[in-house]
């Protein structure tokens, strides 16, 4: 098998394919194809179970071919009580398989560490035995203003042998609630899937419904939507650099960035009234336009935001005591990043050139050359520095968009489609949120309602990497490593 004859349905990002055109095979064959695909450099964007019309379970795999700007979809009928594990060979599949096992009662045969993803269990943590080994348990309620999760460290003195992260505390049933939709509440589930990535998730949701109802946003709406997505990136990247600074005890940048982050959130509010972009992105358009006066105001605020952020952030790179703490902390090699299936700035910090805006562009991103910002150190410094590169790039990109906004309406056909969505169809939408690839997949039933709605937040790909990068580190480096990823608990737990 080579890249030209992958026996799966080819798709483009933001596209739909009838279910009949998605080849169905045995679960053994699907596992084989996925493994071969990964061997050729493809990666898993989503791998999940779905209940078929007759009540049986089907497995769906969505693979991304970043070099060729293409997606692949395949499915398998799950027969019996299990299916062969891909994670045996490719760790990037491990959480997906655990999720399938939890949701559909199917056992991935040969899975190296099969346990629930979101259902809480009292024990079952990996333990290192030995007289001088001790265990540190943290959470679910943490010291700061952050979401809940449980962390279990196996330590030898200060040194971490192993960290296991148990999540699920934020599980509020998002995917389940979307079944039967779209309805009036569906967009709000997307907006709150991970609240700090509202635009990325809302955009993905709307692209799904647009693909299933043959609609699209106008060029103007796409451009303003991209501005909102980049503002989301700016706010979070600036905030995270401040948080990283705070965790190494360097207070100037921590204090400055805390405020500057707010300035970027307020730019989103300038667009739509809400600091997180709630209510901006609609199916087939946007709720608010960027009029001329507002555009001028945005550019002005962008200038001052850039000035302040540059001064605050450059201070990090110029301060040796900061650099000494960032360098070589929580390192993930390029190979490990690829094996773990990392996405977003975390992947790029390990040298992987992976960015949906460049690899699988949709909307206005198709018309632009978005350079992929990479760094090769794979440590906290890398993850911080990539953010800085992206901050500069996003600001430049927003400026470019604002001055060359396409004309036209922003909202051609709002609201739900009157005739419903295409029946028995699969649609995929990927967007590069600030944490990385936000993936939504929908499958419709014979009536055009969602029979399965799968959301893969970038955090789902990246949580295992945080645990992995703590190996052989000091336990006191955990907060710093954690901030360098800043993963979403609610996006993972859904």
């Amino acid at each position: 098998m080579n890249r030209d004859d992958i026996p799966l349905a080819g798709l483009i990002n933001g596209g739909a394919a009838s279910l009949a055109s998605v080849p169905s095979m045995s679960s053994e064959r699907l596992a084989e194809v996925v493994c071969e695909g990964i061997g050729m450099g493809l990666r898993i964007s989503a791998y999940f179970g779905a209940t078929a019309a007759d009540g049986g379970t089907e497995l769906f795999a969505i693979l991304a071919d970043d070099e060729r700007n293409k997606l692949y979809a395949g499915r398998a009928r799950a027969e019996g009580k299990g299916f062969p594990s891909i994670a045996r060979e490719h760790p990037q599949a491990q959480l997906f398989e655990r999720e399938i096992a939890e949701q559909f009662g199917l056992a991935p045969e040969g899975h190296p560490w099969l346990k629930p993803v979101r259902r809480l269990q009292a024990g079952g943590f990996y333990r290192v035995e030995g007289e001088q080994v001790h265990e540190v348990a943290v959470g679910p309620v943490h010291a700061g203003v952050i979401e809940p999760g449980h962390f279990r460290f196996q330590c030898h003195g200060e040194r971490v042998f192993h960290l296991e992260i148990a999540l699920g505390y934020q599980h509020r049933g998002v995917e389940q609630a979307l079944i039967g939709g779209p309805d009036r509440r569906s967009p709000h589930y997307a907006e709150t899937a991970a609240g700090d990535a509202t635009i990325a998730h809302a955009t993905s949701y709307c692209q799904i419904v647009e693909a299933l109802s043959k609609r699209r946003k106008s060029a103007r709406a796409q451009a303003i939507g991209a501005i909102a997505l980049e503002l989301e990136r700016l706010a979070n990247h600036v905030g995270d650099l401040g948080a990283i600074s705070g965790d190494v005890g360097f207070l100037p940048t921590a204090s400055f960035c805390g405020r500057i982050r707010g300035e970027f959130l307020n730019m989103t509010a300038l667009l739509c009234g809400n600091r997180f972009g709630r209510g901006l992105v609609l199916v087939g358009g946007l709720r608010y336009d960027l009029d001329e006066a507002r555009a001028a105001e945005l550019l002005e605020r962008l200038d001052s935001g850039e000035r302040d952020a540059s001064v605050a952030i450059r201070l990090l790179w110029d301060t040796q005591s900061v650099m000494a703490r960032l360098e070589d902390t929580g390192r993930i090699s390029r190979d490990d990043a690829a094996r773990l299936g990392l996405v977003g700035p975390a992947a790029r910090a390990s040298g992987l050139s992976r960015d949906i805006r460049s690899d699988q562009p949709t909307g206005i991103y198709r018309l632009t050359q978005m350079p992929v910002s990479t760094y090769d150190s794979g440590d906290v410094l890398g993850r911080a520095f990539v953010r800085w590169l992206e901050i500069q790039q996003s600001i430049a990109f927003i400026r470019e968009l604002v001055v060359s906004l396409p004309s036209g309406d922003i909202r051609a056909a709002p609201g739900l489609p009157p005739a419903g969505l295409a029946p028995a169809t699969l649609a995929v939408a990927l967007n590069e949120g600030w944490r990385g690839e936000v993936c939504h997949v929908a499958i419709t039933d014979a009536d055009g309602a969602f029979s399965r709605y799968k959301i893969v937040d970038p955090s789902f790909h990246n949580w295992p990497a945080l645990a992995y990068c703590l190996r052989d580190q000091e336990i006191s480096d955990f907060p710093l490593c954690n901030k360098s990823f800043n993963l979403s608990y609610c996006g993972h737990d859904l």
Binding site: V145, Q176, R185, H188, S255, A269, Y489
Partner: protein, 271 residues
Amino acid sequence: MLKAILSRIQQGYRTMRFPAGPPPALSDRFRGLPEIEASACPDDCRACLEACPTGAISRDADLRIGSGSAEAGLRIDLGRCLFCVDCEEACPRGAIAFTKDYRLAVRDRAALSIGQSKRELELARVLDRRLRRLFGRSLKLRVVSAGGCGACEADVNVLNTLAWDLGRFGIQYVASPRHADGLLVTGPVTKNMELALAKTYAAVPEPKIVIAVGSCAISGGPYIGSPEANGGASSLLPVDLFIPGCPPNPLTILDGLLRLTGRIKEKAARA
């Protein structure tokens, strides 16, 4: 070192004067307290009820609009409201409008249900004498996210930045419930967080207060009816302050906290 000092000068003094001075400017598209225009509503229209994603709008069937009673007809439950303006857009007569009024925090859950009359939203009263004596100048809160999407958490946290500087009011988020005077809860309280929230609450010494921030924590928000979640903090704990929004603007949160501790007293008229 020199660079740090220079950058400090460049960044300037950024803490707002509010509440002594004016509040920070909000976006002209900001969606605050909604207003209902009674006279515009025909009896048989249900457009807003059908558009509302969380069932926040209700209609008293027995009390017909136009019957003269100011309390009749439409009511919006701000505890459920996502401030998404789906209702405003669905209304063919412009009977619902979201104003720029950011003051939304109340002490009683029932006060969040607002009708068509122009009476004031009953904004949060100050704590009673004993609690105010204890907490008025020093309120330590333990924040518990229990199914929140991260947006409420972010705008609770932002009050700690130098622009807002929550510490100047003696209010602080603390690392342990044992050091706290109360809880600030976000999220609908997922089933998986029920026990952790109960334990955290139990660990806070008496007397203690509970603050629910965001529509999830007040009513369940978009997750009302989810089998995986409860209906917010008040379904499990006695709540002393409700701050609506999805998420509430930091100004709305600060306004609520300051009213509770008696630092803002005026009863402002509805905008």
